[in-house]
Amino acid sequence: MGFLELQNITKIYPNGTKAVDETSLNIDNGEFVVFVGPSGCGKSTLLRMIAGLEDITSGKISLDGNLINNIDPSERDVAMVFQNYALYPHMSVFNNMSYGLKNRGISKDEINNKVNDVAKLLEIDQLLSRKPSMLSGGQRQRVAMGRAIVRNPKIFLFDEPLSNLDAKLRNQMRLEIKKLQRQMGVTSIFVTHDQTEAMTLGDRIVVINNGVVEQVGTPKDIYSKPKTKFVAEFIGSPQMNLFQSKIENGLAKISDIQIKLNNTLNIEDACVGIRPDDILISDKGEYSSLANLVEYLGSDMIIYSSIGGQEFSCKLSSKINLKAGDIFKFDISPSTVHIFDNVTGYRA
């Protein structure tokens, strides 16, 4: 039995849209779980149901052994960091952080101590008397987190909190969130549509698509053994190359090239997935193709090419000398090939 337990959670909006479909999930105490998926997949809805901001159509949510389906959000002992921070614009940083404590009837001295401690931890102790409009994006983010931390909740919920920051700050805050979570050991759920964030932050990742959980696992599991075609495509950057193919007795045919697999599968309508960095360029390579376009990224470069009209990309060190229009040779190791059944969408 997990710390936070979701049992067959379903959410159907009044207009008939099914946002979340029969989702079950167990989250352990102290775990950092990331919900990831494209926008509109139901990940935020799921988070908001855990927070109590959204009614549950059917299913059970329990936290620390107590059913919390019908418990008021403020009594669930959860804290949330919102996408646009939702700081109270008319209150100082101190009041923003202390408002929840005040509503719980905590004494003034204790509030002062708690807020000051958390402010020091987040390095915002100089800003306590300022209004949110006088803060930068990163500072607002810290205040929003401070407001959550100060309440000492059982669970932190993050609803895409980094999407409003610029790239540099985002990386910095990402690291900081991870560090803080480790330090405090509070169970956290983080919602994002950015797979890099998901991979770097999560102890476990929950990939959601169309209201259905596609796969739950460690970042490594998900990257190396995607369970469905959707997960394969969604996780990893650049995206995994998917080729339509026919597999006969362990031999995958992609138009005129053939890849010998490590098995003896027979699939009529198959999809062969190869990560761009698993395409190994070498002069002695078995296959060859024309580089249509080369994208230079500093340490790496990405080559866009096609096999029999099916486009693919490969990622390699930019030390290799290759220009658009060149013919290159490459190898594919059978152990790095992912096979999906196009009919079911599942990994074969």
């Binding site: 927070a51 408002y99 509503n103």
Partner: protein, 253 residues
């Protein structure tokens, strides 16, 4: 616009005799204190029961009452319409809004009958209550509340706020600028009321400044002094709240 006002002011500081013989004046005279104190404290009206000072007091109470009650009622009405899951909130809102089409003059008889049945003729309550709900102010507040992001309410909910506390701790301070604007608007509206107080009051004790303007009999410089003084209360309110208004604009964002 300033020049006519100045001429009236300058003329009001001369004696009546001087104006009658020399016409309107552009420069200040030396009867300022004498004229103004006489106007303020002289008994006037048909029965000589009321002083200009009392009229100012009456007008001020009425205008403040109307402005305050309008702000309170429309703030709360808008809160109910926007934040509570009322089934026909939009229809109710438009019903309230339609009352804009019905001017006070049209409902003046029924309003009078209600007030007289409640024994509120010749009271401040009678002067204030029937004009202390404003559809336009409700409209302003409603639109403003709708522009407040939902996350704010959600964050507040997680912080354990009740619906009453959310109103007091969030909506009221956030709509400070809007409150100042509505207050100014309703104050001037209340101060300028003429027909309603005329009907609602039979005792001269409840006369207001605007009624007094019409019935002021006296020398020409007295009337000028009265006109000048009648402009002061709205100006004070506007100047005072303007500060708040501008402050609010810079603070909230």
């Amino acid at each position: 616009m300033i020049i006519p006002v100045w001429i009236i002011f300058a003329s009001s500081t001369h004696s009546s005799l001087f104006i009658n013989t020399n016409g309107l004046q552009f420069f200040l005279g030396d009867n300022f204190v004498e004229n103004y104190s006489r106007v303020l404290f002289k008994k006037s009206g048909f029965f000589k029961e009321i002083t200009a000072f009392k009229m100012f007091f009456n007008s001020f109470v009425m205008a403040i009452g109307i402005a305050t009650l309008s702000v309170v009622t429309s703030l709360m009405a808008a809160y109910g319409l926007v934040y509570f899951k009322i089934k026909y909130a939009t229809i109710i809102f438009w019903l309230i809004f339609i009352t804009l089409l019905v001017p006070l003059e049209l409902r003046i008889m029924p309003s009078y009958i209600i007030m007289s049945k409640l024994n509120l003729v010749n009271t401040f309550a009678g002067l204030i209550l029937p004009i202390s709900a404003s559809a336009i102010a409700t409209f302003f507040f409603r639109q403003f509340y709708k522009s407040i992001p939902d996350e704010l309410l959600e964050a507040a909910k997680l912080d354990g706020t009740s619906s009453w506390r959310f109103f007091i701790d969030f909506l009221v301070p956030l709509s400070k600028t809007m409150i100042a604007a509505v207050f100014i608007f309703m104050f001037v509206f209340g101060y300028n009321q003429y027909l309603w107080p005329l009907i609602m009051t039979t005792s001269e004790q409840y006369w207001t400044v605007v009624m007094g303007l019409k019935t002021m009999y006296g020398s020409i410089s007295d009337r000028f002094a009265f006109v000048i003084m009648s402009m002061i209360p709205p100006v004070i309110i506007i100047v005072f709240l303007q500060k708040l208004f501008i402050q609010g604009i810079f603070q909230s964002k």
